[in-house]
């Protein structure tokens, strides 16, 4: 009975404390001035430092999508430009944001959770509080702001690099000439597509950083607790990215 109750109650309690943490974070926005330096540092860590791996993953997704689309469209009745018309929106609508999201869930999410978790178990968070500092404002707000600002930037970079990767491999591999690829992309371009991608990346950035901060900030126990918080931060972020991806597609498209 207790077990059943805890299965039902645990997610509700977690959601409650997650919301409370965010409420405290946002109510400390008034002191933003004192966190400014920290925001810049986090932006570098979340954004600039993640660029190489995001670029690599994006280039390969674009290239693979191009090769596979070419493989599926073998009919001589279908113009090759269709490849560009499929690859470019795929990158802008889905891959640019989701691939970046998964990479950042592992790279940024795990790092945030491990960092805050270690600070929690070594009493560094208590030390901040005992000094009279707002630890939520100082630690969480800069990380979430860095996430929601830098994630869209990474998304834009990922989309461009992914499309460039597809274009290059398509042309160099003889699947589709660059000119036709671009023609196809232009013909079927929808101005709302990049807007939708930007909205998604903003939401994903918020999901990853806020969940990882929540998990890290509330770490219990010692090294094992930090390990658990780190894994959970990455896994739960990925799950919520998938859910948000579907929910946004269903409501906005």
């Amino acid at each position: 009975m207790t077990r059943n109750r805890s299965i039902i109650l645990a997610p509700a309690v977690a959601l409650g404390s997650y919301s409370l943490l965010l409420f405290h974070a946002f109510s400390s926005l008034g002191e933003f001035g004192s966190y400014r330096k920290n925001v810049v540092r986090q932006m570098v860590r979340v954004g600039v430092d993640s660029l190489p791996i995001v670029a690599l993953a994006a280039a390969f997704s674009g290239a693979v999508t191009t090769v596979q689309t070419a493989y599926q469209l073998v009919s001589p009745f279908i113009p090759k430009s269709i490849i560009g018309a499929i690859v470019v929106p795929s990158m802008i609508l889905e891959l640019g944001a989701v691939v970046t999201g998964f990479i950042l869930a592992g790279r940024v999410g795990a790092r945030i959770a491990a960092e805050l978790g270690t600070m929690r178990v070594t009493e560094q968070i208590d030390a901040l509080e005992a000094m009279g500092l707002n630890s939520i404002g100082y630690l969480i707000v800069p990380r979430v702001i860095a996430g929601v600002v830098m994630f869209p930037v990474l998304y834009i970079a990922a989309s461009f690099i992914g499309i460039a990767g597809g274009l290059f491999v398509g042309h160099a591999g003889g699947f589709v000439p660059a000119g036709e690829f671009i023609d196809g992309a232009r013909e079927f371009f929808q101005p709302f597509d990049p807007v939708f991608g930007l909205i998604k990346s903003f939401v994903f950035g918020f999901i990853i950083t806020s969940i990882s901060c929540f998990k890290g900030y509330n770490t219990l126990g010692g090294a094992e607790g930090v390990g658990l918080a780190t894994t959970q931060a990455a896994v739960i972020s990925c799950v919520y990215i998938l859910i948000a991806d579907l929910a946004l597609a269903a409501t906005l498209l």
Partner: protein, 253 residues
Amino acid sequence: MIRVENLYKSFDGRPVLTDVSLEIPEGHTMAIIGRSGSGKSVLMKHVIGLLRPDRGRVTVDGVDIGRIPYGELRQVRRQFGVLFQGGALFDSMDSFENVAFPLRTFTSMTDVEIRREVEDCLAMVDLSGVGPKMPADLSGGMRKRVALARAVALRPRYIIYDEPTSGLDPETSNTIDVLIRDLAERLSVTSIVVTHDMHSVLSIADRAAFIFEGRMHWVGTIDEMHASTDETLRAFVKANEYQIGMPHAPDLP
């Protein structure tokens, strides 16, 4: 003055402190003693408002810190310096930055003034010159001394020590004890020392409060403690004296 009245606190339905009352007079050094797990650290965390009481109250200069808004609580906390068990130094900063942190955060001092102040604080704990070292490169005792320098940087009215000598060798423990006594005299602060090390208690405190099974079992001066006929207190003190009297291992050539 710090006053604890009928404090009750439980975790997950398990009571840790059941009825604790204590008055800590200004300018004295009060040791809070008791076995491991007796609730000493929980009491300490109530005194700086890191935990809020289930029942009862904790007042600092007449202000009930369990019931004031967070912003006011943070103001009250700035009168405290806390030395955490493991030091709780921020491991992303070197020793200098750790001590400078409260000064940078809460004062409008210039860089030159901060440098002078940090050097003063480090000299106070006999650690001039370790500024550039990272916490990971310091020994346990040095880490605690840097943490102590950080705790006194804002010249607090109250200093709280959580197990200041635990995990240290006898010689380093003595150094820390001497430092605590010196600081209490030099800065004329009210000190609260949470410990189970009777050797420390005898060398630094002028009063002691003995917590037993979640209750305040005995409070008095050190002389009164020696004269006490209370069985439980005597058993605790005796067990510790036995430990202190243990023959030390012979020095290696």
